[in-house]
């Protein structure tokens, strides 16, 4: 039962990575890339590595999303 969830999570990482590359809007691409990091953190928990998951959740989701937001705003490149 949990294996099916792991397969779904890995497929979701691949889908959100492809979306982060292919989407036109910079904001939507940033959100999709952040989602890939969040799902990777869940996969780390399911692989019994909670410290790696905590680091991934704090840096990959929180810090990099804020840095991307700041960069998009400073370069004024957020065409919708």
């Amino acid at each position: 039962m949990l294996e099916l969830l792991v397969y779904l999570l890995c497929g979701s990482i691949i889908v959100s990575g492809i979306l982060a590359v292919r989407l036109d809007s910079l904001m939507a691409a940033m959100v999709s890339g952040s989602l890939a990091g969040l799902f990777a953190a869940v996969c780390y928990v399911l692989l019994a590595a909670p410290d790696v998951a905590m680091t991934e959740a704090s840096i990959g989701s929180g810090l990099s999303a804020l840095i991307f937001l700041y960069t998009i705003r400073r370069t004024a490149g957020a065409q919708e």
């Binding site: 779904l8 979306l19 959100v31 999709s32 799902f39 869940v42 928990v45 905590m54 919708e80």
Partner: protein, 86 residues
Amino acid sequence: MAEGILFVAAVLIFLGILFGVLRLILGRTVVDRVAAVDMLTVVSISLIALYAHVAGRFIYLDVALVYGVLSFLAVVAVARYLEQGF
């Protein structure tokens, strides 16, 4: 009894991730995608809590706590940005 409740929770988490990713793929506007990511975050937190109970390791709940605080921060920052604030 408890096994049945856990099975129903796992099925609901499965459906939540499936339809959330579908909304992320099909989403027309940025706001749709941000809402889908917020919903997927809550579903992922519930998945970590479920796995902490199944595996019997309650250190995993700390990961869920950090996860919830930081994803909330990111979604709030994106919402402030979409209002042209920041």
